[in-house]
Symmetry: C2
Subunit: 492 residues, 2 copies
């Protein structure tokens, strides 16, 4: 419809001499339509943005009552504008952001106010002539020291705004003390209006459609895991299929969306860290108590990024122009596809466990399966012998195999981190009647019957049978008594 | 000394009953020493932090003159505090940051001031009773709309502070207009003090030890390239040496610093982008004219990150526990070491060209050499035949080779981007008497004599001879007429 209207505009443009004049309102209309569309998209992507905007408007209008209502005005005087200023400056998108700024502002104002009064008192000791000089020196020293403290990463992360307000208030109090005699009255009025503004912000942000930074962090980390899972889920098929049919135009076009999702994880560090910083300030809410281990989410986030870096390295292999050896590929296809698929299932199970805050041990069998597939891959590689070994053609597939091994290790670490989180945050235990969660490893080494639900709804059962081997999987050089690995895939 | 004093404290602690009381000032001393050490380190890491702190102190003290000097005070009244507030809020570390905030604040204040006056005039039309209601609705609507506009990424990046000030000023002017009758006088006083505060900030930040965001961006991107170069320089030796001597404790300890440098590149996106945003606001300075292509630095930065992701993927291979096949490794060692070394030289030359703002074509031969080494690697892989092919042992080395190929491609893109930058920013051309920069490819395909200066000062000459081949290097499947690659290494 957008294109149609511009086409109409164009045809009109060439229609006659007055075309250009006529098209102007039309062009304006097109621009207005495109802007309103982007506004609509912005609102639809996250409807909380709309409510946040209205909450800010509401808080400002409420605080303006300080001016409108005469009794309040007589009480507070011009200081009422501090309430307006406070609301505009303090109101942040998340509850944590608002609270952190409010508390920072409150404590900094108090501390700086007292220090400013002290500085003022101290300066008066030096007489009429000495007072401005001493005050000037004190303001210079305090401002310089406080500004320097903002370079400390810890202070920068948590108290940056507090230090800013400290400098501001100290200068104002110390300097206006020289002029205004009823300083204490002014300070009282100012502080009470600031508290009023801050309280309005806090109450509205907590009680009207609250946006919790902690919940956002929780969801963001879980959704990053899901993005990893959906990549790994599709990778095996995409990579090993892409060579089978060279006319892969349809497959890659469909695949683009889930193969690109992980890219947003690469640069997630800053947003994760700021959310975690804000979450610290939030009271208990919903499923998250006061001392929820928010810092631990950063650990999981870092591991997810680590995994995404590895994916970035193999993502180029899908569309690679180097033709991989079909013979070699077929030798590793089974174990590689299984590694990728089992990692995907494990990460998905971990993401689900995080989202529902339940025990993540349902991921354990998948992690073990992925590790078993990794060992299978090693045996397959050791046993492989090719008729005509063209190493150039082997390199790309070998790279995929090697990076998948790294990904399995990374997924194991993610699983450990989520398990730690589940203990720290007391995730609820779910009953698992079939597999005892205490000793999954012992069971898995003997054999597993693991129902696998395919994407199209057809159910497969994978039966993997391993003998118990004593060699450590990390060693990679098992002794000559290589355990026989049997594996059958049965379509049900 | 630090440890000694704590040891003394401890011995004193057990000496007698009064020990604990005595040790308190000692512990305090230790803490003070450790804090002052970290302050010293922070200052030494970047001495501009100290000057910045003093500049803020100076600006605040200067602006306080507005209060101290009686004639000024009589002129401006309490509005003088707006100058103090302006300085505290506007003064940023970089010139671009200060200018962007100042201009945002200036324009937003003007616009919101006029709109506020208009709103006030409009509301008066509704009589005494309607006025507060109409004003309230207007404040709500404007504040909500402006808050929503902050979610647009473009506005967020450049005008976030301006929108904040707009909401603030509009509310203040519209609301105080209801009370203060001499609104225009107040507005004039407020604006003039704000301009005075802003001008103080801008002048001090531009003329006293200025910190230019543009220069910082320029240096940061160049230094990221240098970090990549120093990794690639060391990688070949580190990887192929690490298996030769298994007792590699000394080598890896020495190597830690340059092998970790690239990690800071992985998360450089945000700082690069904010620097580029600030640099846009800066006037011409030093070697950078007004319309310097700052946006182009982001492109180079993104490619450097891309390269760092690849490095992250092979970095694990250095300390890998899987023993790579020595036979296979020795077959690819020559070309892989050369790829890594030539990439390092190319990236280093590009970084130097950026730093000195000279023509980057001295990197071209190295890029070509790296590509030649890449082709050599392909031929070596095609020609390789191993006695007992253990594929498990081949995988890690093959991965390194494959990722190095990706790195060579990435370095070529970086080289292109730096060349584009050199044209956009008019880097000075340097005379190169030996190699004509127009046709290095033609020359290089025939044969190169390239002096290689080793780290220990002994000079080698590498003579690489290729026949002109018609197959594209990307194809990877050259036809059967494989060109013979002769290569000799002569110690001079």
């Amino acid at each position: 419809m957008d294109i149609e209207s511009t086409a109409q505009e164009k045809s009109r443009f060439f229609a006659g001499a007055s075309g250009q004049v006529k098209s102007l309102p039309g062009n304006l209309k097109v621009r207005v339509i495109s802007i309103s569309k982007s506004i609509k998209k912005l609102g639809q992507d996250d409807p909380r943005r709309l409510t946040h905007s209205m909450k800010v408007g509401l808080a400002l209008t409420l605080v303006s009552l300080l001016y409108y209502a005469r009794p309040l005005y007589d009480g507070f005087g011009v200081s009422g504008m501090w309430a307006v200023l406070t609301v505009v400056v303090l109101f942040e998108f998340t509850v944590g952001g608002t609270l952190s700024k409010s508390l920072n502002r409150g404590f900094a104002t108090l501390l700086a106010g007292f220090l400013g009064l002290g500085a003022d008192y101290f300066a008066r000791l030096f007489g009429k002539k000495g007072e401005p000089i001493v005050l000037g020196i004190l303001v210079f020293l305090l401002a310089a020291a406080a500004t320097f403290s903002r370079f400390f990463p810890r202070i920068k992360a948590r108290y940056d705004y507090g230090v800013l307000v400290f400098i501001l208030t100290f200068s104002l109090v110390a300097v206006s003390g020289y002029r205004v005699d009823e300083l204490v009255v002014v300070a009282y009025q100012r502080l009470s209006t600031i508290i009023m503004g801050g309280a309005t912000c806090m109450l509205i942000s907590i009680f009207i459609c609250p946006v919790w930074a902690g919940e956002d962090l929780h969801k963001a980390v879980a959704s990053n895991l899901e993005k990893l899972a959906s990549y790994l889920e599709g990778f095996g098929g995409e990579y090993f299929q892409s060579c089978e049919d060279l006319g892969k135009a349809v497959g890659s076009k469909d695949g683009k969306s889930f193969l690109q999702g992980y890219k947003s994880i690469l640069n997630s560090k800053n947003s994760d860290e700021s959310l975690a910083n804000f979450a610290r300030w939030e009271p208990g809410h919903g499923r998250f108590p006061l001392r929820h281990p928010w810092k631990h989410y950063l650990k999981i986030g870092a591991l997810a990024r680590q995994c995404a870096y590895q994916i970035e390295a193999i993502n180029g292999c899908i569309g690679s122009d180097i033709q991989a050896s079909q013979e070699f590929k077929s030798k590793i296809e089974g174990s590689c596809t299984r590694m990728s698929a089992e990692c995907a299932k494990a990460v998905k199970a971990l993401a689900t466990a995080m989202k529902t805050m339940t025990d993540p041990s349902s991921a354990n069998p998948h992690v073990e399966n992925a590790k078993a597939a990794m060992r299978d891959l090693k045996f397959a590689l050791k046993a492989a012998s090719l008729q005509n070994a063209d190493f150039l053609a082997i390199v790309p597939a070998a790279t995929v195999a090697s990076v998948l091994v790294e990904i399995v290790k990374c997924v194991e670490k993610i699983s450990e981190a989520v398990h730690e989180l589940s203990q720290l945050a007391h995730f609820t235990k779910t009953l698992e009647p079939t597999v005892s969660p205490e000793k999954p490893q012992q069971l898995l080494h003997r054999g597993i019957i693991q129902p696998v639900s395919g994407g199209d709804g057809n159910d497969n059962v994978v039966i993997t049978i391993h003998e118990i081997s004593t060699d450590s999987p990390e060693n990679g050089k098992p002794d000559q008594k290589v355990p026989k690995t049997g594996q059958r895939l049965m379509e049900v």
